[in-house]
């Protein structure tokens, strides 16, 4: 469904957002709030983070204004698209006493259009979808919301120090999974940028066809390729994925887990910002009339209660909980869903209050591969 690209300016981008709003979408885009770029409701491009850059490092995030007219000179904020398709809290059903006839609470949120999702966010949606739609069951909210979403991806030309999407194969460019792909071709100084726009779906094509813009020239595509190549070369981090699932599976007793456990606070930030963490709790509340409300809320394997069975939690040590998160992402995820659970966005590094860097932990495990005998024999006591 790919068509030839068009080059549009800021005015046409504004029209694109308005056209999506006119079609009944709730438009979400990057906005600056409380010192961070987050996903917020937008009515046009005026709210987008013009001239803002982000500075990310382990345990550190800040913004600075450069005065440029570019809208996408930043990498990723703490929020991914996850919260839109997998709400942090939702009510599944209610039931009234005494008979407790169970009534489902349908998800009625308007379809969402995301302006400026990143290629890693698209990869995150794909990975999340493999977890939430499996062979025997599917999360109805995720299916409805992800199926109905309109995704305008902005390719990444300003990766952060914490990014490693190149090594995970998820960026900085996007080849599929979007309705419209934008590449911001920056203006010099305070000149307006232009956008190389490409449709990825029929709906995207219809939208772009309604906008004035000149057909893309080979020079525009060449500029895009250069921008992405420069972004890829400025990637701050990387993960060596060669044999990694097996390496982690045989290093469950590696002393490095003790080392990281000394630093990990088990706060759950890494799981909250992760675009692919899908764990959820199901909890009941009862109001004064006795009506039962079953809610689903995000859960974290960092929590002691996550592994609770009668008698106590299975993973009582922080070491075992960090190990669960890391081995699930980079090893068991392959067994369960046929892909890595990590998309290389680096959010878990930036938003870890202790600055724990998963790429550093993996490198250390690799360097000390086999430091402890891990595969105990059958029936060993």
């Amino acid at each position: 469904m790919m068509s030839a690209g068009v080059v549009i300016g800021p005015d046409e981008l504004e029209q694109l957002v308005k056209a999506l709003l006119a079609r009944g979408y709730r438009a979400l885009g990057p906005v600056v709030r409380d010192g961070a770029i987050i996903l917020g409701e937008v009515e046009g491009t005026a709210e987008l983070p013009k001239g803002w850059q982000d500075n990310q490092a382990p345990g550190s995030y800040s913004l600075n204004q450069t005065g440029s007219h570019n809208l996408f000179d930043w990498a990723v904020g703490p929020q991914s698209v996850k919260a839109e398709v997998f709400p942090p809290r939702s009510t599944i059903w209610t039931a009234k006493p005494p008979g407790y006839v169970v009534e489902e609470v349908p998800d009625e949120a308007a379809p969402v259009a995301v302006i400026g999702a990143r290629p890693c966010d698209l990869a995150g949606l794909d990975v999340l979808g493999r977890a939430l739609v499996n062979g025997s069951a599917a999360d109805p909210t995720f299916q409805r919301r992800s199926g109905g979403a309109f995704l305008v991806v902005a390719e990444c030309t300003h990766p952060a120090n914490t990014c490693f999407c190149v090594s995970m194969g998820t960026g900085p460019g996007a080849s599929h999974g979007f309705d419209v792909r934008l590449t911001e071709l920056p203006g010099a100084g305070t000149e307006d940028p232009r956008y190389l726009a490409l449709a990825g779906t029929r709906q995207g094509r219809e939208l772009l066809d309604g906008l004035p813009g000149r057909p893309a020239q080979p020079a525009d595509e060449a500029e895009r390729v250069n921008l992405l190549a420069r972004a890829a070369s400025r990637m701050g981090r990387s993960v060596d994925n060669a044999g990694l699932p097996e390496l982690l599976a045989r290093n469950l007793s590696n002393p490095r887990w003790d080392d990281v456990a000394e630093r990990c606070l088990a706060c759950g930030n890494c799981t909250a910002v992760c675009p692919t963490c899908f764990c959820a709790n199901f909890e009941d509340t009862t109001d004064l009339q006795g009506t039962v409300r079953r809610q689903r809320t995000w859960a974290s394997c960092s929590d002691l209660a996550h592994s609770y069975v009668h008698g106590g939690p299975v993973r009582s040590s922080i070491k075992s909980r960090y190990r669960q998160w890391a081995t699930h992402k980079f090893s068991w995820w392959w067994d369960q869903f046929g892909t890595s659970g990590c998309i290389g966005c680096g959010r878990c590094i930036t938003w870890c209050p202790a600055g724990i860097d998963i790429t550093e932990e993996i490198a250390a495990l690799r360097a000390s591969d086999g430091a402890a005998s891990t595969t105990k024999g059958a029936g060993e006591r």
């Binding site: 599944i92 005494p98 977890a131 499996n134 009668h310 299975v314 669960q324 699930h328 029936g379």
Partner: protein, 287 residues
């Protein structure tokens, strides 16, 4: 009761929405263990296989995974529940006629079709006998038939005589097969075995070359029972040695992530797994 058409149980509900069942029978098995018999409020039977579990809701308290302790196609759906927390306490105290939410069945079963001409060895510890009850009944019914086991050996351990569940079943089974019971701590009047269930494995009469073992109980008990079975000569292969594992489960459909166990999402790949699947998971602490 005829075997239900599986389509009858197909629900129009989303995967997280229970159907209402009513308590039609309850039996106190032990001071803190109750068996509930349940019938669908909509008259819809719930087809299942021994070893599978349901998610049970005590309305207003919460939902927990409970294995099915009845036998498919024979009377009402039964669950045997030990009171260990708020939800199980509410379930254990559910009065006759009260509504409960049921979702399921979920997970793998014991795979009883593989038992032709075998010596079926069932090893259970404590409440671990509950998911094995339907399997033992089905195996005993088939014993001696061409497609059934040659013999059935049931080895049961409990902490105290008081904690022993399904006492009437055990008596019935002992007339039809080999049953041995042991307790960790005897009480006055107990004249049976005292000690861990491992010793029963050593003494039981079965041919290790024909043995097919089903094991369920606390993880430490399963480790030692499996060790004893292997030392008796039972081959530690996927067909010959099966165990039922437990983890936190909140959805039953592989979507909530709580039952991660290494490469497995246990509500789907389990609870019944083969020994080769389980061996490493049983020995790695806090996995």
């Amino acid at each position: 009761m005829t075997l239900a058409d599986p389509r009858l149980a197909a629900s129009t509900h989303g995967p997280f929405t229970p159907s209402v069942f009513h308590v039609v029978g309850r039996a106190q098995e032990a001071p803190d263990v109750v068996t509930l018999a349940l019938e669908s409020a909509e008259g819809r039977p719930l087809p299942f296989k021994p070893g599978q579990f349901n998610m049970l809701t005590a309305f207003g308290v919460g939902e927990v995974p409970i294995s099915i302790s009845s036998r498919p196609g024979h009377g009402p759906l039964m669950h045997t529940i030990r009171e260990v927390g708020a939800v199980t306490r509410a379930l254990c105290r559910a009065a006759l006629g009260s509504p409960l939410g049921v979702r399921g069945p979920f997970g793998t079963d014991w795979g009883l079709d593989d038992f032709a001409q075998s010596d079926a060895v069932v090893v259970a510890g404590g409440i671990g006998l509950a998911p094995l009850r339907g399997a033992v009944q089905a195996l005993l019914d088939r014993a001696g038939l061409p497609m059934g086991p040659r013999r059935v050996v049931v080895l049961v351990g409990a902490r105290t005589p008081d904690q022993l569940i399904f006492k009437r079943d055990l008596e019935d089974w002992s007339r039809r097969g080999q049953v041995a019971v042991t307790v960790d701590m005897a009480e006055e009047g107990w004249e049976g075995n005292v000690g861990v269930v491992t010793h029963l494995v050593d003494q039981a009469a079965f041919d290790p070359n024909r043995a097919m073992a089903l094991v369920c109980g606390p993880e430490v008990m399963m480790r030692f029972a499996i060790q004893a079975l292997i030392e008796r000569g039972v081959l530690p292969t996927s067909i010959r040695l099966r165990v039922s594992l437990e983890r936190n489960m909140q959805c039953g459909t592989g979507l909530c992530g709580h039952c991660q166990l290494g490469p497995y999402i246990l509500c789907k790949s389990g609870p019944v797994v083969t020994y080769p699947q389980a061996s490493r998971l049983l020995t790695e602490a806090e996995l």
